[in-house]
């Protein structure tokens, strides 16, 4: 008996059905609102002065050709190739985010977490790292090397056009 009533009820919009549907829709809307508000509340925010700004690395001439200089606060290494071109690599290993260190005697960047190795230009020499170390944009202004650490640029491997010249 009850089943029959429900069946006929759903086929046409009675006042009760309309109110039930409306209450359901409003409830869903309220849930969505709360969810959206919570997401907005919890969304990651940038803290002023944190990593991600523009770093003045120093005088062009203070970096000899064929050198690698670490900038711990900027989270990058400044590489000067033998031909004088500049390149910065982000120290974050492209595998799982550990900080690589420069080992001058081996001419390699090495990640201690999972043994990835990168060459002088940051290209992968030994996996598991899937791609070369990320780079940051460099500009040379008034003989100064200026590095913008806002957005790491991904690349598969080193190419000559990534070098920046004075």
């Amino acid at each position: 008996m009850t089943q029959q009533t429900t069946q006929t009820d759903t086929s046409k919009m009675t006042r009760r059905n309309f109110l039930q549907l409306g209450a359901g829709a409003l409830g869903l809307l309220a849930l969505l609102e709360m969810g959206g508000a919570s997401l907005a509340f919890l969304a990651p925010r940038k803290i002023e002065g944190e990593f991600g700004g523009v770093v003045k690395a120093g005088d062009v001439d203070s970096f000899p050709a064929g050198s690698v200089t670490e900038f711990p606060d900027g989270r990058f290494f400044l590489i000067r190739a033998d031909d004088g071109g500049f390149l910065t690599v982000y120290r974050r290993c492209t595998h799982l985010g550990c900080s690589v260190s420069w080992e001058a005697d081996k001419n390699q960047f090495v990640c201690p977490c999972h043994a990835s190795q990168f060459d002088f230009y940051g290209s992968v020499e030994n996996p598991p790292a899937p791609r070369a170390l990320d780079t940051f944009a460099i500009e040379i202004e008034d003989g100064q090397v200026v590095v913008d650490t806002a957005k790491p640029q991904t690349r598969d491997e080193f190419e000559a056009n990534q070098l920046v010249y004075t």
Binding site: P44, R45, I47, R92, G97, P112, H114, P127, P128
Partner: protein, 448 residues
């Protein structure tokens, strides 16, 4: 004085005389909020220690100790990058019983992980997920994942080297999940790297979100056991009568004794072995080797051999299969029988032997002879180091399953016992390799 005593005499809070007959014992259980988690009487075989090993109860005990010690620790901890480490140092050196409390929290957290996992193995082996117990099996797995998340978020809080790098690696893993991975890790960390936002988020998750969820789910888990007709028992022939014992004193006595023994052992251990604290976190220099927490070493070992996406998919698929077991193994006649049958035990041992041989062999072969990305340079590493090892692993599991079915002419249920055993022991061996046989630069070394 005497007047007060007489007036209290009629209050219901006054200790009741211990119930002495069967009926009042059952009533005492039914009318008590905490004891009411138990049925009023239990079949005698269900009380046998070797049937349940008491693992669910033991896990509950650890959870209880964790909540109590955690509440105290919260009063002395600062969730800020500048002060977290010093607050732990202060706790360890200056605050009375601070070191002991932290040690208790640390060790019971690790023990909880172990006993929850063993509990899962127990329920698997004697078929406790069968006959309408699918919901509780799923809740149990969710609880295990919660415990892992608890351990992982708690790991960051001391802000030492181990904490910082374990969480850096763990959250970087998320980035490999297509589309949503970056968003999730961004939300967790509150940015792109482990810093103040991440510490605050992890703290809030560890001390509020997770405990609230855990307590609710535990209550649901216990309630569900009662609703499913008590813990699983073998099917009885028609007319076979099983003796039933009252919960007071038979079960409660065992529980109280076990709890006292375990608490004593935990306190003695915690007093002798303090919780580790490494050097202050240094974002520029990971320790070498940078190892994850021991319970993630199996996964980290996989990461050394596969593309991160594959190293996550493989355990993900296995976990999904384990969660789906009640729908995959629907034979109900072998519920409550360890390893399903005598043959099942032989098959389980075969699974152990297989993993003891295969896993170290594969690790060595991959370490010294096979380098898929180098052998297949024309393929992207996602395929050569990801898809191919993943498919080989899954194919290997399928071969083991069919091998067990063929050689032992095993039933589906029994072959799954072998497969499950192989997988859990492989995880165990991978963990051992990661913890003891990985040295600087994660190279294979002898531990002695």
């Amino acid at each position: 004085m005497a007047e007060q005593a007489t007036s209290l005499k009629n209050r219901s809070l006054r200790p009741q005389p211990s119930p002495s007959d069967r009926r009042s014992r059952m009533k005492a259980v039914a009318n008590n909020l905490i004891l009411h988690l138990h049925p009023t009487q239990i079949p005698r075989p269900a009380l046998k220690l070797t049937y349940t090993w008491g693992l669910g109860g033991i896990s509950t005990l650890w959870a209880f100790i964790l909540i109590l010690s955690g509440i105290l620790l919260m009063f002395r901890y600062d969730a800020s990058v500048e002060r977290a480490y010093t607050s732990i140092q202060f706790l360890e050196t200056q605050i009375p019983f601070g070191s002991l409390l932290r040690s208790l929290h640390h060790w019971s957290g690790n023990l909880l992980l172990i006993t929850t996992f063993l509990h899962l193995m127990r329920v698997f082996y004697n078929g406790g997920f069968k006959k309408g117990r699918a919901t509780n099996w799923l809740i149990g797995i969710t609880l295990l994942l919660l415990v892992v998340t608890f351990n992982f978020t708690g790991y960051l809080l001391p802000w030492d080297q181990l904490a910082f790098w374990a969480v850096t690696v763990g959250t970087s893993l998320l980035n490999y999940i297509p589309i949503v991975g970056g968003v999730i890790s961004g939300f967790l960390l509150g940015g792109t790297e482990v810093g103040q936002n991440a510490l605050r988020n992890f703290y809030a998750i560890h001390v509020s979100l997770l405990p609230a969820t855990l307590i609710l789910l535990m209550a649901y888990h216990f309630w569900r056991i009662r609703k499913d007709g008590g813990i699983s028992q073998p099917e009885r022939a028609k007319g076979e009568k099983v003796e039933k014992l009252t919960t007071i004193p038979y079960l409660v006595q065992i529980e109280v004794t076990a709890a006292m023994l375990l608490i004593t052992t935990l306190f003695l251990w915690a007093a002798q072995v303090p919780a580790p604290l490494e050097a202050l976190a240094n974002p520029a220099h990971p320790p070498n080797p940078a190892k994850a927490a021991w319970y993630f070493m199996g996964l980290q070992e996989l990461l050394l051999h596969m593309h991160p996406l594959a190293a996550m998919l493989l355990p993900g698929i296995v976990l999904f299969a384990i969660a789906a077991l009640p729908y995959w193994d629907t034979r109900s006649s072998d519920i409550g029988i360890y390893f399903r049958s005598k043959k099942g035990l032989t098959i389980a041992i075969t699974g152990v032997v297989f993993s003891l041989i295969l896993v170290p062999l594969l690790v060595l072969v991959d370490e010294w002879w096979i380098d898929l990305p180098l052998m297949l340079p024309f393929l992207s590493t996602l395929i050569s180091n990801g898809l191919i090892p993943l498919l080989l692993s899954l194919g290997g599991l399928a071969i083991i399953y069919y091998f067990l079915r063929g050689i032992f002419s095993a039933t589906h249920s029994e072959a799954l016992v072998g497969l499950f055993t192989f997988v859990t022991f492989s995880l165990f061996i991978l963990t051992l390799i990661g913890v003891f046989f990985r040295g600087p630069n994660m190279a294979l070394v002898m531990p002695f």
